[in-house]
Subunit: 350 residues, 2 copies
Amino acid sequence: MTSTADRTGLISSVETRLREVGRVVRNSMLDAMPDGDPVQWLYGPMREYPARPGKALRPALCMSSGRAFGGSADDLLGVAVAIELLHNAFLVHDDIADGSEMRRGRPTLAAEHGVAAALNAGDGLAVVAGQVLRRATRRLDRDLAELVWGEFDTMALRTLEGQATEAGWQLDEIVDLGPEDYLNLIMHKTCWYTTIHPLRVGAIIATGGQAELSALVRFGFHFGAAFQIRDDLLNLIGDEAMYGKEILGDLYEGKRTLTLVHLMATATGSDRDFVRDYLRLHRAERSEDMVRTIRALMDDYDCINFTSEFAEGILLTAEDYFEEAFADAHAGPDLDFLRSLVPYVWARWR
Amino acid sequence: MTSTADRTGLISSVETRLREVGRVVRNSMLDAMPDGDPVQWLYGPMREYPARPGKALRPALCMSSGRAFGGSADDLLGVAVAIELLHNAFLVHDDIADGSEMRRGRPTLAAEHGVAAALNAGDGLAVVAGQVLRRATRRLDRDLAELVWGEFDTMALRTLEGQATEAGWQLDEIVDLGPEDYLNLIMHKTCWYTTIHPLRVGAIIATGGQAELSALVRFGFHFGAAFQIRDDLLNLIGDEAMYGKEILGDLYEGKRTLTLVHLMATATGSDRDFVRDYLRLHRAERSEDMVRTIRALMDDYDCINFTSEFAEGILLTAEDYFEEAFADAHAGPDLDFLRSLVPYVWARWR
């Protein structure tokens, strides 16, 4: 990535493809939604997040990985839609747990309809994800279908383990954490369901379960970690309108991001005390002034640069693992798309 | 039911069987729980409700219905365990939505571990329920397995529809409701997953999907409605230690029970205004004095008797439907147990 023109071209080609997949998957998600009552208190709220355009990274990874390994779009689409529906179910519940107010540029379900309706809507989305996956796996040989279901169960549990750990760190005021704790957290909370699972399940369906999966885990972990770190950074340095969530929302929550973990580990004297005291407060007790101070300390202790450099190192490793993970895949637009994702995250960084 | 001795014998024989099923199912639920980390923030909380002895009515209905129609215990147990696990998942999320403090005689998960941990634990229990059901349906012919899964999806959506409606009535301060609205609510919220689904799915497995299901729906609805009305009544007139939840908790919540619906429909003048004003308050604004006043108005307007008589009428209908629903079932202890449930609810009433 040397020239601005290359960079613009890369971003545009990746995002065009993501938008195409997003449109197809969004329509399929909405088509899968039950047509019953109560619309006002259940089925209406259930449609809201799926109707708001998201990144569609997960279904795009599943479709491209599967096709690169020789799978058919017909076998893959339903599984990709199920992944995105489950992702939406997680988002709805996450937003309750975090007390978030904005999601994809609009109020969260809990902010708009109350906690009870949001809870039920999240549960409902998980049920519909299961229905879609069941229809999709009916096309497959029974043993292969079981393998795919096993992947989904593992992914769901990994994700919950990560979310539970993150919430536990906040609740129990855990402050002595290093980068390795953060990486272990996002391996569970983000990478498994955002990158590793979609890549694996696509490959499994395409190869009848014969694909070598451990290299996909290595690539998916490094790519997914860089993706999550970038997302966390955007919350610190991004633009609210583009980002779609509250800027600095993670600081209000006390979310242990790599940047905050680095600040906790490097701040000294009264700065250190300030950070520790801050993390012991409840969300409602954290004032805008305090949040601004924490944000300024992150500059003082060079935490933003640390985070960027850390992530760039991970992305370089991801690039190496990519060739290993897709050594048996077919050349073509799907493999090209997957390969371009690493420099894409890099390009979006700057 | 004429003599006290008969009544005591009936209660004791039903409860002995429920305890037996409960013990087996409880052990199976705990065995199915993943053995991973974090114990403290996810897998520990997930074990709590399954480890607290519950009524075990749902798995007992599934096992007995299946065996009465000629099914084998081996084919039925996993499905019964999955039903109970999903029930526990619902309870965890319900207790968050309702802001409840006690469940089965101990603090709710949200009260003990916070909302985020309870949310994740409920999601995790639903995932484990799916894993158990998947193992159980692997024994079955693939079409029959699909039929069973379809039943589970329908049951889960019906339950969510009911829960969402109940929460919506409270949130939007809906007060103009009649008994038919209440019955429609509990058909969704309670009967489908408490009685109709376990009875149907047991019969489906036993008969390879050939059982006549509509008569089971009619029996299950009437029996389940009486069961729910009794449960609501216990919250008004019961003993806290025996009941395991806060007495009058439903009044604090403003839960639209049949008794409250009747009070809303029959109270006049300033009593009517008091009830309507009360229902417009948030839970935290409802004082003990107000709750006591509502409870006293229920006596003044004879609402407890109305509720009892209403439910006794439903139980008589359930008794008629029982014979129709189980006309093709085999005589024996399973059929005897199912038949004794109607007078059991009746006997527990008095």
